[in-house]
C-alpha cells in the first residue's frame, strides 16, 4: 500500500464500559469505589485497555499543568525518549517538580512503559509570547506526541490526571494505586474491548487534551467526515480512535470557539429535522444554523460518551441512542454509567435513576463558588 494511502482513514474499532462519579459539593474521594464499579462491568472489556481520569488530585500543584508522560520501547529506547522529551520540556516550560508516577509492583500488567509526571508552567519564547497559555500547551503537547519517538503525553490539564494502560480497568486502577494515593471530586473510567488493534498503552482511554477528557463507548460511522473537518482546522488525528475525534471536537467548539456545552451537544448529536421543523422560530433557526455550519461534526453512529472538565461532567449519547447510558444521583453524588448495576453496587440506594434520551446531554457541575475554588486553578 502506498505511504499516502496508509495514512488514510484507518480507524480502531472498539466497544467499552464507561463510568463517571462526581461529588457536586466538591468533596474528594479515592478511586476505590470507581474501580469496584468498573470491575463489575468486567465483561464489557477484553483486557486490552483500561483507564481513569481524576480531577482535583493535585491541589498542591493546582496552578501548574500536570503532564503525564509514557516512554515506550526497551529500556534504552525509554531512556532516550525521556532524555529527548525532557530536553524539549525544560526548554519550553518551567518545571517545578517531576517524579516517576507511582505504581504497584504487586499488580501484573503487560509491558508497562516508563511513566513520569511533570508539574510545569509555560516559559514562552519568541513568537510564542503572544499565545494564550492553553494554546501554547496544546501546541507543545502535539509536538511531543508527533515528533519525539517513543514519548507520549497522555495527560496535560491542571489539578487532574489520566491513568491508563493495557489491562482490565480494575488492574490498571490498582497498578496506579488509585484507591490509595489519590482523592478527587470527579472520576471517569473506561474499560476497553478493541477488536482490531494491538494493545498499546497510549491507545487506552481516556483521551485528554488540557483538562478535557473523554471516555467513550461507540463506533462513529461519520469518522471519515469528522476527521477531515478537524484536520482542516489544524488537529492531527494520530491515534485513529473515535475518542480522539470527540475530544478534538469538544476542544474546538468549547475552548477555541467558546460555545456552551448545551450547544455543543446539539452539534455532536442534533435533533432530527422532523423535530427541528416543529420547534418555535428561534429554536428552529438556531438548530438549523448549527446543522448547516457544523454538519461535519455530527457524530453519527452509536456512541455514549462521558466528557469531563474541571468542575463538570457531561454524559451524551448519539441522536438515536444506540449505546447505553444510565444516570443516577444520591445526595451530592452524581453518577453516569454504562450499566445501572455498577452504580447500585457502590451506592445501593439512589435518589433518582434515569436513561437520558438520545442526543440530550446530562450535565453535572460544581456550584459556582466551589467551581472557582476547587476547579479553577489560581
Amino acid at each position: 500500500m502506498s505511504v499516502r494511502r496508509q495514512k488514510l482513514y484507518s480507524k480502531e474499532i472498539c466497544a467499552c464500559s464507561i463510568f463517571g462519579a462526581m461529588s457536586r459539593t466538591g468533596e474528594r474521594f479515592t478511586g476505590e469505589r470507581v474501580i469496584r464499579a468498573m470491575a463489575n462491568m468486567h465483561h464489557r472489556g477484553n483486557g486490552l485497555g483500561g483507564g481513569f481520569a481524576a480531577y482535583g488530585i493535585y491541589p498542591e500543584f493546582r496552578e501548574y499543568y500536570a503532564f503525564h508522560l509514557m516512554f515506550t520501547g526497551d529500556a534504552r529506547a525509554q531512556r532516550e525518549a525521556k532524555r529527548a522529551a525532557e530536553e524539549f520540556l525544560f526548554r519550553n516550560f518551567d518545571v517545578v517538580h517531576d517524579e516517576e508516577i507511582p505504581h504497584s509492583d504487586d499488580v501484573y500488567v503487560r509491558d508497562p512503559p516508563l511513566l513520569w509526571r511533570y508539574f510545569l508552567s509555560p516559559s514562552k519564547h519568541g513568537e510564542d509570547i503572544h499565545l494564550p497559555d492553553d494554546e501554547y500547551v496544546v501546541r507543545k503537547v502535539v509536538h511531543v506526541n508527533s515528533a519525539i519517538d517513543n514519548a507520549y503525553i497522555f495527560s496535560s490539564g491542571k489539578n487532574m490526571g489520566c491513568f491508563k494502560g493495557v489491562g482490565y480497568p480494575e488492574e490498571i486502577g490498582r497498578y496506579f494505586m488509585l484507591d490509595r494515593l489519590y482523592r478527587g471530586y470527579l472520576w471517569t473510567a473506561h474499560g476497553r474491548f478493541p477488536t482490531n488493534s494491538q494493545a498499546w498503552w497510549g491507545g487506552a482511554h481516556p483521551f485528554g487534551l488540557l483538562d478535557t477528557t473523554v471516555v467513550h463507548n461507540g463506533e462513529i460511522s461519520s469518522y471519515g467526515t469528522n476527521r477531515w473537518y478537524l484536520e482542516m482546522l489544524g488537529y492531527k488525528c494520530t491515534l485513529h480512535t473515535d475518542t480522539e475525534v470527540v475530544a478534538y471536537a469538544v476542544d474546538l467548539l468549547m475552548r477555541r470557539q467558546d460555545l456552551p456545552m448545551e450547544v455543543v451537544a446539539k452539534i455532536l448529536a442534533p435533533p432530527t429535522w422532523e423535530t427541528i421543523d416543529r420547534m418555535d422560530v428561534r429554536e428552529r433557526e438556531l438548530l438549523t444554523t448549527l446543522r448547516r455550519i457544523y454538519g461535519p461534526l455530527l457524530m453519527n453512529g452509536p456512541f455514549a460518551v462521558i466528557i469531563a472538565q474541571s468542575g463538570r461532567m457531561i454524559g451524551l449519547t448519539d441522536r438515536i441512542r444506540l449505546r447505553p447510558l444510565t444516570v443516577a444521583t444520591r445526595g451530592e453524588m452524581f453518577y453516569i454509567s454504562s450499566e445501572e448495576a455498577s452504580v447500585r453496587l457502590i451506592s445501593p440506594s439512589l435518589d433518582s435513576v434515569w436513561s437520558p434520551r438520545g442526543g440530550e446531554p446530562v450535565i453535572c457541575e460544581l456550584d459556582g463558588r466551589l467551581k472557582h475554588e476547587i476547579a479553577a486553578p489560581a
Binding site: 500500500m1 453512529g301 452509536p302
Partner: protein, 497 residues
C-alpha cells in the same frame, strides 16, 4: 453526393403488422412510409436513429430495431466508427456533431468503488423504522457561529430535501414541456432545476422562483436584473463536461418566437455562445463578475460557478473559491449535451469521480473547503453513484442525462437535429406535444423519490442517519480493480485493505 455509409440500424417488422401506420406517424426522422400499391410498410434503414419510438408505440409489438449486422472487414485500428466518421467528413467537409454524453469506454470509476456496511461492532440503521435524513445545504459556511449575532457571517444558502439537482438544460435546447416538467418536479421534490443559458420564460418566474437556479453563460441570453433575481441562486457557466473549452450554437430553426423572446434575440437567428466569456479572461475577472452578480441580487443569492472537469481542476477550483463563489459545480467528461463536436465530447476533460475527489482534497488542504459547496455532475447514473460522489467529497450532485431518460430519452444522440421523437430536445410543436408535462414531471418526481429511498438504505447500512456524515467520508469506500495511482487520486483504499 451519394453517401457511402452503411445504415446504423436494421429494422425488422413481423407479420403481426396490420399497417396501422403508427410507426410512420411516430418517427420524426422519416424512416417509415406506407406503400399503398403493395399495402405494406416500408422502412428506410439509413434514416433510423435507433430512438426506439416506433418500437415502443407499435400496437402490435411488430417492430424490432437492432444494430445492423453488416460490417467492414474487422480491423483493430480502423473500427467501423473511425471508417464511417471519415466517410461522413469526406462527404460533408464538416465537423461531426453529436448529442448526449460520451459513449466511449473510459473507465467508469463508480463501478470500481464498493460501499461499506455495518456488521456487529456497530448497528446498521433501518430506514423504515428510524429517521434517515437527506436534507442538504449548499453555500458558503462560516468557520464558527457567533451566538450573540446569529445573522453575522451567514451567507445565503440553498436548502435541498435530497442531495440531487437537475443540471442546466436550456429552454431552446429542450422543449418548453420538458423545461416545465423539470421545474415542476424540482419544486415538488424540494430541490432545484437550472435554466441553462436560455433565460427563464417570464410566465414561469413567480411560480418556480424558490426552485430555480438561473444561469449566466457566455452568450448572456435573456439576462437582465429581473432575470437574475427570478431564481434562488445564480450560476455562472464557464464550461460543460461534454464540451470543455468551446462555446455553443443553437441553430436558428430552434429559435421560435417564444424562445426568441425568452433569450432576448430576434426570432429565427442562430444563438451563438462564445467559447469564453468575453469579460472573463482571468480569475480576477471572474471575481468581478461574481461581485457584480451579488450586487445585482443584493447578496441574497448564492453564486455557483460551473466548470468542466479538466486536468488542473483542483487548482482552478481553489481559485474559484477564492474569487468568492459560494458553490462550485464540476461537470465530468461524461456529461451530456444537446450538441457538441464529437471530437471534443470524446477526448476532452476527465471523469467526475477523479475530479471531485481531487478538488475536495485540495480545498481541505488549503483549509477553505467550507467556504464553498461542491456539486458533482456529468455521469451520475444511479443512486449508488450519488452516494459515492458524496463520500468522495461532493455536497450534492447534478443529474441531467438521468432526468432526460426518466422523461423518455433513449440516448439516440440526435439531439442536435432538433427532431427528438420523444418531444424532449425539440422545438417542433408537433413533437413537443408528445411530452405530457404532468406525466413527465411525475416520472422525474418518482426518480428522485426512488433514488432517495435507495440512498437511505445505503446510508442505513453504513450506520449513518444523516447525509452530512457521508460527505468526504472516504472511509466508507474501497476500490476494486484500480491502479495505485487511481486509488491515490480517489483517496480510498483498495478492497480488503
Amino acid at each position: 453526393m451519394r453517401s457511402l455509409l452503411l445504415p446504423e440500424f436494421t429494422i425488422s417488422r413481423s407479420d403481426s403488422c396490420d399497417r396501422c401506420r403508427a410507426c410512420e406517424h411516430q418517427c420524426s426522422f422519416g424512416v417509415h412510409t406506407y406503400d399503398a400499391s403493395q399495402d405494406m410498410m416500408i422502412s428506410d434503414n439509413y434514416r433510423c436513429a435507433g430512438c426506439q419510438r416506433c418500437a415502443v408505440f407499435c400496437p402490435k409489438g411488430a417492430i424490432e430495431i437492432r444494430p445492423t449486422p453488416s460490417f467492414y472487414r474487422p480491423n483493430a485500428s480502423w473500427s467501423r466508427e473511425r471508417i464511417e466518421d471519415i466517410k461522413r467528413q469526406a462527404e460533408t467537409g464538416g465537423v461531426i456533431l453529436t448529442g448526449c454524453g460520451s459513449d466511449k469506454p473510459f473507465r467508469i470509476y463508480w463501478d470500481h468503488i464498493l460501499l461499506n456496511a455495518s456488521q456487529v461492532t456497530n448497528p446498521s440503521i433501518d430506514p423504515l423504522r428510524e429517521p434517515m435524513e437527506l436534507r442538504t445545504f449548499l453555500g458558503s459556511k462560516p468557520e464558527s457561529l457567533s451566538l450573540s449575532d446569529m445573522e453575522a457571517g451567514t451567507d445565503p444558502v440553498l436548502t435541498l430535501e435530497t442531495p440531487m439537482l437537475f443540471s442546466a438544460m436550456s429552454y431552446g435546447a429542450i422543449s418548453y414541456n420538458a423545461f416545465q416538467a423539470l421545474a415542476i418536479a424540482a419544486s415538488r421534490s424540494g430541490t432545484f432545476f437550472n435554466t441553462g443559458e436560455g433565460g427563464m420564460p417570464a410566465e414561469m418566474r413567480s411560480q418556480f422562483k424558490e426552485h430555480t437556479i438561473v444561469q449566466v453563460a457566455s452568450g448572456r441570453f435573456g439576462i437582465d436584473a429581473e432575470y437574475l433575481n427570478s431564481g434562488a441562486a445564480v450560476e455562472i457557466k464557464i464550461g460543460q463536461g461534454a464540451k470543455p473549452g468551446i462555446g455553443g450554437h443553437l441553430p436558428g430553426e430552434k429559435v421560435s418566437q417564444h424562445v426568441a423572446a425568452t433569450r432576448m434575440i430576434p426570432e429565427g437567428t442562430d444563438a451563438i455562445s462564445p467559447a469564453p466569456h468575453h469579460d472573463i479572461y482571468s480569475i480576477e475577472d471572474l471575481e468581478m463578475l461574481i461581485s457584480a452578480i451579488k450586487e445585482v441580487t443584493n447578496y441574497e443569492k448564492p453564486v455557483i460557478v460551473k466548470v468542466a472537469a479538466v486536468h488542473n481542476i483542483s487548482a482552478i477550483a481553489s481559485g474559484i473559491v477564492r474569487a468568492g463563489a459560494d458553490i462550485i459545480a464540476i461537470d465530468g467528461m461524461r456529461g451530456g449535451t444537446g450538441a457538441a463536436p464529437k471530437a471534443i465530447r470524446d477526448n476532452v476533460g476527465i471523469p467526475i469521480e477523479l475530479a471531485v475527489s481531487s478538488v475536495d482534497r485540495r480545498l481541505r488542504d488549503e483549509g477553505i473547503r467550507e467556504r464553498c459547496s461542491i456539486i458533482a455532475g456529468g455521469g451520475i447514473r444511479c443512486s449508488a453513484d450519488v452516494v459515492k460522489a458524496i463520500a468522495l467529497g461532493a455536497d450534492a450532485v447534478y443529474i441531467g442525462t438521468a432526468a432526460l431518460i426518466a422523461m423518455g430519452c433513449t440516448l439516440c444522440q440526435r439531439c442536435y437535429t432538433g427532431r427528438c421523437s420523444w418531444g424532449i430536445c425539440t422545438q417542433d410543436p408537433g413533437l413537443m406535444r408528445r411530452l405530457n408535462v404532468e406525466e413527465a414531471a411525475q416520472r422525474l418526481v418518482n426518480l428522485l423519490s426512488a433514488w432517495s429511498h435507495e440512498i437511505k438504505e445505503m446510508l442505513g447500512g453504513m450506520g449513518i442517519n444523516a447525509i452530512e456524515s457521508l460527505r468526504g467520508n472516504r472511509d466508507q469506500l474501497r476500490g476494486i480493480g484500480l491502479h495505485e495511482w487511481e486509488l491515490d487520486v480517489l483517496g480510498i483504499k483498495g478492497a480488503g485493505e
